[in-house]
Amino acid sequence: MTTTGPARLGPDADPVRPGPTSPITLIVDGEPVRGVEGQTVAGVLLGAGRLTWRTTRHGRPRGVFCGIGVCHDCLVTVNDLADVRACQRRAVDGDTITTGEPQ
């Protein structure tokens, strides 16, 4: 386990006691990334420890900034549809996500 960066709190340690959830898998740039039902695409990516997934025209990395759909920093391509705000889009099992990050 990494000790730096974003992380999802496991249900056992969680004081709000979330109920049981179904796992989902997104295909992000060809690689499977696991999350749980009800998460946003940004939630799945951050929960997997990933902080950035886009590169600006000037080559600067970006991920989530505002978290509420205002800044458009978090854009991804979902199932071939470009310019989807990852922080607003509910993740669906099997979604194919293409990021703007060089691989």
Binding site: A7, R8, L9, D14, V16, T52, R60, V64, H72, R85
Partner: protein, 481 residues
């Protein structure tokens, strides 16, 4: 396309919109309540989604019982209002797309309500500083939203900084989401805070449960030995492709960094908020008047300057969830009253009784006074520009720097905000200046010695990003069917 004509349409299902829709329904109106999000609650009562219900959601919340009482209402979710089409003689027609966020096959719906309540809330204002575009720098609201709706901590060593009491619940949520919080830094010094918060203490009695809420957050900090520093700010974030450290410094009362007080702290995330900006796109396209702070102007019944259009909550000024609730009740009652009585009798009644009780009016007044203190204690001071470098990005979308703005103003000699934005590209990116608009305007104001056309950053024809295909389908539904 068929146009739906409810008595009252309420946009936004945060505290204000929920209260407005509930009050209007109780008054006998036929109501449609909608929100772009997937669930009710707005920013304040954001919570885990229905797919992942929590047994003890109230650990992260205040007033959860109030929310439970309001959330049972019928609500149209995933419904993005993207255009308010103005009319001279009746409330605007609202165009809505229903479906997954930023999708391309959403269902268009159109509403021409007899009365409209706008309760679209606010978003954060974060001032730029060197390195604020590094991944790992978040708005405080992002940290709060991710903690509440995803149970994600944005980092393991997190600094929370900026201005306002909002920093405290953010730190508490981070702690309850497994993050370590290295400190909470408020830009304003004790003397300003004390002056604003201790004046006329009797006035605070009616809103004393808020003091209780804040005291709870302060206990969280104390229990975890987290320093709360005043008169201190993050003035730079460092790292190559993610934030690894920040520089913090003491500020003078006008928020100018005090030389020689800089200190470096290792962090893996920093959450910054300097206040909130009312979300007024729809109100502006509906023609509603704004005040000097960019908030929608309303009378004591929540009426805007446009007949049949009401507003409640943080769209009318930043004052927290309790004020939003109080305003929502009044606007909901007034809208229901206007929609269900004939035009003649409403205008005759004027601002008179629309079914609002004296107690409901008092709740609004008391919370309004609380909001005034917020601004006096925590409002942004001009010295912050002192922590910008020429190479500091101001407009994140177009990557326009502070130096570009200065050079743009000097080179053109223009004092027009619009022409300066066109020549520098600042505020013209995909977020349409929602993040940097006010900052760009303030900086250009200083560089030009006074802008001739301030305030234009608030006007955006479309309230949301829409795809051309969806636009065409919305105009010609029969072809897309």
């Amino acid at each position: 396309m068929s146009v739906e004509t409810p008595d009252v349409l309420v946009v936004g299902a945060g505290p204000a919109g929920l209260a407005a829709a509930d009050a209007a329904r109780r008054a006998g109106a036929q109501v449609v309540l909608l929100d772009a999000a997937g669930d009710a609650g707005g920013q304040y009562w954001r919570h885990l989604p229905a797919e992942r219900p929590a047994a003890d959601e109230r650990v992260l919340h205040h007033g959860w019982d109030k929310f439970t009482a309001l959330r049972g209402q019928e609500l149209l979710t995933d419904a993005q209002v993207w255009l308010a089409e103005r009319h001279d003689d009746r409330p605007p027609t609202l165009h809505v797309l229903v479906g997954p966020a930023d999708g391309n096959e959403r269902t268009p719906r159109t509403f021409a309500p007899k009365a409209l309540v706008l309760a679209t809330g606010a978003y954060e204002r974060t001032l730029p500083f060197p390195g604020w575009d590094l991944p790992g720098v978040f708005t405080a609201g992002a940290a709060q939203a991710l903690a509440k709706a995803e149970r994600i901590a944005v980092g393991r060593r997190v600094l929370v900084a900026g201005a306002g009491p909002f920093l405290l619940p953010v730190a508490s949520s981070l702690l309850r989401t497994g993050a370590g919080v290295v400190g909470v830094f408020e830009a304003n010094g004790w003397s300003r805070l004390r002056k604003a918060w201790t004046a006329r203490p009797a006035e605070l009695l009616s809103t004393r449960h808020k003091a209780g809420e804040l005291a709870g957050y302060v206990r969280d900090l104390a229990r975890n030995r987290i320093p709360y520093r005043t008169g201190t700010a993050v003035i730079a974030a460092h790292g190559t492709d993610r934030v690894t450290a920040v520089t913090v410094a003491r500020l003078d009362p006008e928020w100018a960094p005090v030389p020689g007080t800089e200190r470096r702290l290792d962090v893996d995330a920093v959450c910054v908020s300097h206040g909130f900006v009312p979300r007024t796109e729809l109100a502006v396209s509906a023609g509603c008047g704004l005040d000097a702070y960019g908030a929608v102007v309303t009378d004591e019944n929540g009426r805007t300057s446009v007949p049949g259009v009401y507003a409640a909550g943080e769209i009318t000024g930043i004052g927290g969830a309790d004020l939003a609730l109080a305003e929502g009740v009044i606007a909901g009652l007034a809208a229901a009253n206007a929609a269900t009585t004939s035009a003649a009798s409403t205008s005759a009644a004027g601002t008179a009784n629309v079914g609002v009780t004296e107690e409901q009016r008092r709740a609004r007044r008391d919370n309004q006074r609380f909001a005034d203190r917020l601004e006096r204690a925590h409002g942004i001071r001009p010295g912050w520009a002192g922590w910008l470098g020429d190479d500091t990005v101001v407009c994140r979308c177009e990557e326009v720097t502070a130096g570009d703005l200065k050079a743009g103003a000097a080179a053109t000699g223009s004092r027009g905000l619009r022409s300066l934005k066109l020549s520098t590209r600042a505020g013209l990116g995909v977020c349409q200046g929602r993040v940097c608009g006010r900052t760009v305007e303030e900086l250009l104001h200083r560089h030009t010695g006074g802008l001739l056309d301030p305030g234009r950053t608030a006007s955006r024809p479309l309230a949301a990003f829409v795809r051309m295909g969806e636009l065409a389908a919305a105009n010609h539904p029969e072809e897309s069917a």
